[in-house]
C-alpha cells in the first residue's frame, strides 16, 4: 500500500504475533481472533460505527473434525 502511495488505515486479522495451542480449527479461529466477529469489529473500528451484529446473526460456522493426523 505504501509503495503505491495509498494512505489508508489497515486492520489486520490473523495470529497476533503469537504461537497457538493445539485444538480444533473452530476453537482456534475464535480464541485467536481469526474469525468473522473479529472482522466485524475491524469494520466498526475503521468506520467508527457500531453495527450491533451478534454471533447469532451470522451463518452458522461449518463444523470440521480435525482430529485425524
Amino acid at each position: 500500500m505504501a509503495e503505491n502511495g495509498i494512505g489508508k488505515k489497515l486492520f489486520k486479522v490473523g495470529l497476533q504475533d503469537t504461537y497457538a495451542h493445539g485444538a480444533s480449527k473452530m476453537y482456534l479461529l475464535k480464541k485467536y481472533g481469526l474469525d468473522a466477529m473479529t472482522l466485524i469489529d475491524g469494520a466498526q473500528k475503521l468506520t467508527g460505527e457500531s453495527f450491533g451484529i451478534g454471533e447469532h446473526e451470522l451463518k452458522e460456522i461449518r463444523f470440521e473434525d480435525f482430529t485425524a493426523v
Partner: protein
C-alpha cells in the same frame, strides 16, 4: 456451498497423466497428504523418503536437474521451517522447478505449535525465485498445479485436504497473481485468503445487511504480490482495508 472430498488426490492423478515427468516424494505422511492413490497407480514415480525432509529436498533438487518434476508432500510446517537451508541452497538459488505441497497450513491441525505453519508465508516470501500460493477452495486445488507448472520454478503451496468447500465456479480456475473479486463496494476493502475466506463471507453477509458496501477480494498468490486488482481495491476504499488470514499478521497477506 458444496463440500468436495480429496480434491488434490484426484487433481494430481490428472496432472501426472498429462505430465509423465511428475514424481512424488513424501516424508512418511503420504496417506495424510492425499498421494496414496498416486503411489498405487505410479509406484515407480513415488518415493517414500522417511521422516528426513532435508534429505528429501536435496533429492528433489537432483531429480529436477535430471528433468523430473518433483512434488514434495508433507505437512506445511516441515516444508519450510525444518528445511529452509536446503530449500534456499539446493532449490531456490539454482531456480529449479520443485513444488512443495504443504498440508494442514496455519491452525488447520490439531497438532499444536510443532505442526502449525503460522509464519511460512512470511519466511518464504523472502526467498528469491519462489512463488507462494495459499489455497482457499476446491476450485483452487484443481488449478494450482497447472499454475505451478507454468511458473517453472520453486513453488510453495499451502494445500487443503479432505472436505474442502467449493466457493468459486469450477469453470473459473485460479489465476496467477490475480485476486478474485467476491463483492464490489467502496466503504471498506477486505482481502482474505485460505480458510479465512469462509469466515470473511460470514462477516460480509452480515455487514452488507447493515448497509456497509464492501470490496471483497480473495487472494491466493502471496508471492509475487503485484496484482493491480489489489492496489485498485485498496485505493478506492473510503474507510480503509481489512485483511484476514490463516497466518501471523506479520509477513503474510496483511
Amino acid at each position: 456451498m458444496k463440500l468436495e472430498s480429496n480434491t488434490h488426490s484426484k487433481n494430481i492423478m490428472r496432472f501426472a497423466k498429462e505430465h509423465p515427468e511428475t514424481v512424488v516424494l513424501s516424508a512418511d505422511l503420504g496417506t495424510s497428504c492425499e498421494v496414496k492413490e498416486f503411489a498405487k497407480v505410479y509406484p515407480d514415480r513415488y518415493f517414500s523418503m522417511g521422516i528426513a525432509e532435508q534429505n528429501m529436498c536435496s533429492w528433489a533438487a537432483g531429480l529436477a536437474r535430471e528433468g523430473f518434476y518433483p512434488m514434495l508432500h508433507t505437512f506445511a510446517v516441515f516444508l519450510y521451517r525444518r528445511i529452509l537451508d536446503q530449500i534456499e541452497m539446493s532449490v531456490a538459488y539454482p531456480n529449479l522447478p520443485v513444488v512443495f505441497v504443504g498440508f494442514v497450513p496455519g491452525i488447520t491441525t490439531p497438532g499444536g505449535v510443532s505442526h502449525q505453519s503460522t509464519n511460512d508465508i512470511g519466511v518464504l516470501r523472502t526467498v528469491p525465485n519462489m512463488a507462494v500460493f495459499d489455497i482457499g477452495d476446491a476450485t483452487e486445488i484443481e488449478g494450482v498445479l497447472d499454475l505451478a507448472h507454468a511458473f517453472n520454478g520453486p513453488v510453495y503451496i499451502r494445500m487443503l485436504r479432505k472436505d474442502v468447500p467449493r466457493f468459486f465456479p469450477a469453470d473459473e480456475p485460479m489465476r496467477f497473481n490475480h485476486a478474485r473479486v467476491l463483492s464490489e463496494g467502496n466503504d471498506i476493502t477486505l482481502l482474505s485468503s485460505s480458510i479465512c475466506t469462509e469466515e470473511a463471507l460470514r462477516a460480509t453477509a452480515a455487514l452488507k445487511a447493515k448497509g456497509l458496501s464492501i470490496q471483497h477480494l480473495h487472494v491466493s498468490t502471496l508471492k509475487p504480490f503485484t496484482d493491480p486488482t489489489v492496489v485498485d481495491a485498496c485505493e478506492k476504499s473510503k474507510y480503509g482495508v481489512i485483511t484476514i488470514e490463516n497466518h501471523s499478521v506479520v509477513g503474510g497477506l496483511g
